[in-house]
Amino acid sequence: MKEENKNYIIKYLKEGRRFDGRKIDEFREVEIEYDISKSAEGSARVKIGGTEVLAGVKMAIESPYPDTPDQGNLMVGAELLPLSNPEFESGPPSIDSIELSRVVDRGIREAKAIDTKKLVIEKGEKVWSIMIDIVPINDEGNLFDAAGLAAIAALKTTKFPEYKDDKIDYKKKTNKNLPLNKVPIPITILKIGEYFIVDPSIEEQKNIDARLTVTTTSDGQLCALQKGGDMPLTSEDIEKMMDLAILKSGNLRKILSGDKK
């Protein structure tokens, strides 16, 4: 059955088509909505076609990690909610949700998107912790790209809560934004047969040979990679996939800065 689906997908790709009428390298419509949760210090909703993902940022004051006493802490969590897809199950985080959160985490961390040195209150003792949580509401494919975009969009809206006399007043937000340096954007390229596609549907996602998530910053630098899928990739494949990812990230970057807050 699976083999049959895949053959059909490839047959379509050969003609430059996909089941939903898109071109091989065409994204579905991307929408970003900011400040979707007043409870969070920053939040955003990203829709890519029917896929909908929320991201929220909470902040707290904690001790820094021993190896980075002069930097704030960053944590990214993702939960594949059974609310968003009938195949997701309740229970401890699945390996898929762990991979998703770590790929997004790596993009933000390695791009040095957040200026963590500016999050220190008392060196070695007290720093701000930035906790980003990613929550899919409806999964119709391509959670990687939606999650990465939602996380950075939420960071853009994040405002420090009031901090006075050693206490955080979460009810009072200041006007101070989180210090951001760079905007990492992950794009996932999938290989099916000899074809490379972007922004997969659930069905396409299930029938891939391999995938590569390429996270880039605005200057075209790469900051994180993650290969997935069962089949190997050649160096030529990887080059093609990187080129396509860099090309596609430009468009998402425009949408992200167009809605600037």
């Binding site: 979707i36 949760s37 939040s43 909610l81 409806n138 979460y170």
Partner: protein, 240 residues
């Protein structure tokens, strides 16, 4: 001391503004969003579907399984740890008891109807908003129901009986507070959820319940209207 005027200027028997929408999660068999004030609940229904592990299956009747959860960034204070907590498990259980009286579990032997409730933003009254959303999502999923269930919190703030407490009222410090969670089957007036914490006299409690019932009837109208709207607008599109 006396609680003269509500923090947000509402009448004492008035709920916060309510917004609803169904079919908000396309992959689910039924779904709804219920917003009351700054509290937002999403509910998604999956099923009836086969129940695993198999030993949990009951050939006599199906299982209604509720999973209530606050998103990690939805709390008014610190981050909420994801995954089940003692609090969320108890709330899931009482929501299940609040909804199951209107559902014929015998209709789906060996199967489960899963209801997932998620809150992205909260300002008190989360279990009540969750019940309202879940009830609409069950109807949207086409699960046969005797009636909807509507839910609201009521309570006492100092010397006043109030409907739909917000967080600031729950945390009122200048006098005694009681926080009561109700769920009502509107057609019969029966209660399917009743929880209270705080201090209140018997008379005041009974008065609060009556106020809650009245509010639930209004909420029920909003729930029904929202479900119907979906089909009215669909009919119109078909006519075009």
């Amino acid at each position: 001391m006396s609680y003269k005027k509500r923090f947000d200027g509402r009448e004492f028997d008035q709920t916060r503004e309510i917004e609803t929408k169904t079919k908000v999660i396309k992959r689910a068999d039924g779904s709804a969003m219920f917003k009351i004030g700054d509290t937002i609940a999403y509910a998604a229904v999956y099923g009836p579907r086969e129940l695993y592990p198999k030993f949990m299956q009951n050939p006599q009747k199906g299982l209604l399984r509720i999973n209530y959860s606050m998103m990690p960034f939805s709390g008014s204070g610190e981050r909420v740890r994801p995954g089940p907590s003692r609090r969320s498990r108890e709330i899931s259980m009482v929501i299940e008891k609040a909804l199951s009286p209107v559902i014929n579990l015998e209709d789906f032997p060996n199967a489960v109807v899963d209801v997932f409730i998620e809150l992205p933003q909260t300002d008190a009254g989360t279990r009540c908003a969750g019940i309202c959303a879940a009830s609409m999502a069950l109807a949207d999923a086409g699960i046969e129901m005797k009636d909807m269930v509507s839910s609201v919190s009521v309570g006492r703030v100092d010397d006043k009986i109030v409907v739909d407490l917000c967080y600031d009222e729950e945390a009122y410090e200048d006098g005694p507070v009681a926080d009561i969670h109700l769920a009502v089957i509107p057609s019969t007036g029966e209660l399917t959820l009743l929880q209270m914490d705080g201090e209140i006299s018997k008379q005041d409690l009974l008065k609060a319940i009556e106020m809650g019932k009245k509010a639930c009837i209004k909420i029920n109208e909003i729930q029904k209207k929202s479900l119907k709207e979906n089909y009215i607008s669909k009919d119109k599109e078909e006519k075009k």
